[in-house]
């Protein structure tokens, strides 16, 4: 392990995630490019994932959130298709939040005839810097040779730490089971040279699986094509190695702001600040010793 790479070990671009995790002769990093501009909201990805991974049913309740009754990713939902009904295309008329975070007024749409129904299949991002993995105390979460992030269900003890660590709100504990679950990027299938179940099922290839480098190229081309076709709102999300998590192994082409889809606009892996955190903790620990020392010193006189 070279010292030079430690800068990369907690944040920033990282060229060889699998290598950094000790995989010596590993295949290229594999991932997803989810092109939401061609998603038809069929939810085949959700079902195929559940069938392959035997993920249990996650509740039968009508959410009222358009056609989305899955609601969010979770321990028993590893793919989640979001449905967003919008009136009026193009950029939002108002700012989402004022600088102080107060919710902004949503203006009445300019052209009410203009309906848009966005659909997008969300999944674990298989972050370059995966907070879930880094905070996992048992090594249950680990980096595979494909550069993906996987929970090992024979190890997880349900400590729950990964849950609040994930900046995308992906991983969760399954009630009744106690362990954490999320997308494995079909680790078993990848090992057999198969593509993940969700990508395989996807009728329109909204979910594209492949070598991450190649997917990034493909995605750039697609954005360009959409821009040329008069869709300036198309943008990539999570593809940049320079972002707060060092780039996602599963990234997206979106047609609106990330938060519209329930994605954080600029997530940063929490461990980026880990050094500073430990330093502050050490200072606090030192302060404790000093304080106790002082307490004894100031009390000494009074006791004989």
């Amino acid at each position: 392990m070279s010292q030079a790479s430690t800068g990369n070990r907690l944040s920033g671009p990282l060229h060889d995630v699998a290598g950094e995790a000790g995989h010596e002769h590993h295949p290229p990093r594999m991932g997803f490019f989810t092109d939401t501009s061609v998603c038809i909201g069929c939810k085949a990805c959700e079902v195929a994932c559940k069938e392959w991974n035997a993920v249990p049913e996650d509740g039968l309740s009508l959410s009222g959130m358009s056609y989305d009754n899955t609601v969010s990713l979770g321990a028993s939902t590893w793919r989640h298709v979001a449905f967003i009904e919008q009136i009026g295309h193009g950029p939002p008329a108002t700012e989402p939040f004022a600088a102080d975070g107060a919710p902004a007024e949503t203006a009445e749409p300019a052209n009410p005839g203009d309906i848009r129904w966005l659909m997008s299949s969300d999944v674990c991002k298989h972050c370059t810097h995966a907070a879930c993995l880094d905070v996992c105390p048992t090594g249950s979460l680990f980096r595979t040779e494909f550069g993906t992030v996987v929970v090992q269900d024979d190890i997880c003890n349900g400590c729950g730490y990964c849950v609040p660590a994930c900046p995308y709100g992906v991983i969760d504990i399954r009630p009744g089971d106690g362990r954490a679950f999320k997308c494995t990027l079909c680790y078993d299938r990848l090992g057999a040279g198969l593509e993940p179940a969700c990508a395989k099922a996807c009728p329109t290839q909204s979910i594209q699986f492949g070598e991450l480098d190649e997917l990034r190229e493909r995605a750039a081309d697609r954005v360009e094509a959409l821009h040329a076709a008069g869709r300036p709102e198309a943008r990539l999300y999570g593809e940049s190695p320079d972002d707060g998590v060092g780039g996602d192994g599963a990234f997206f082409l979106l047609l609106d702001e990330p938060e519209v889809y329930g994605l954080p606009p600029d997530p940063v892996v929490t461990t980026r600040d880990l050094g500073a955190m430990w330093r502050h903790a050490a200072a606090a620990a030192g302060t404790m010793v000093v304080a106790v020392g002082a307490a004894f010193l100031t009390s000494r006189g009074r006791r004989r």
Partner: protein
Amino acid sequence: MGVRTWIEGWPAYRQLAGPDPLGRGVAAESSGSRDLVARTEQADRVVRSICPYCAVGCGQRVYVKDEQVTQIEGDPDSPISRGRLCPKGSASKSLVTSPARVTKVRYRRPHGSEWEDLELDTAVDMIADRVVRTRRETWQDTDDEGRVLRRTMGIASLGGATLDNEENYLMKKLYTALGAIQVENQARI
């Protein structure tokens, strides 16, 4: 030696000794992960099939292990579907392995309030009796004007369109020989 293997199997030791000091990858790998095999790899056989839901007719591959269906997924060879399946097609394994399936004959006697058991053989025999009897009782040789009818209006059938062509063929053939003409299909619905 036992202790040694144990130590060497201890991930924390592997962290120190191997290329993964932070315990993120190889060091943390469990035996479960090491032995992980896609269940499609373990199938005794793979059988080619077609999705039973809609008329797109997507290709399916059915994986069988120990005479149980363990996975159904799209057939990439199909020029129709290119390996893809919609949510219904993707749920096919659940469909054929569903605990909700009826697998035993159920019988409700006239005016009965509960289901009863019946041997399959008995059931088919009883049905054959009813067909023969009803046919006899409702047979029409000719109409009022003496035109040939050769039929029964006492027996009707409504068949689904998830049935195979071969099944429809035998149905039509048998019904026609029986003289049953109210033989319909969901194609009408």
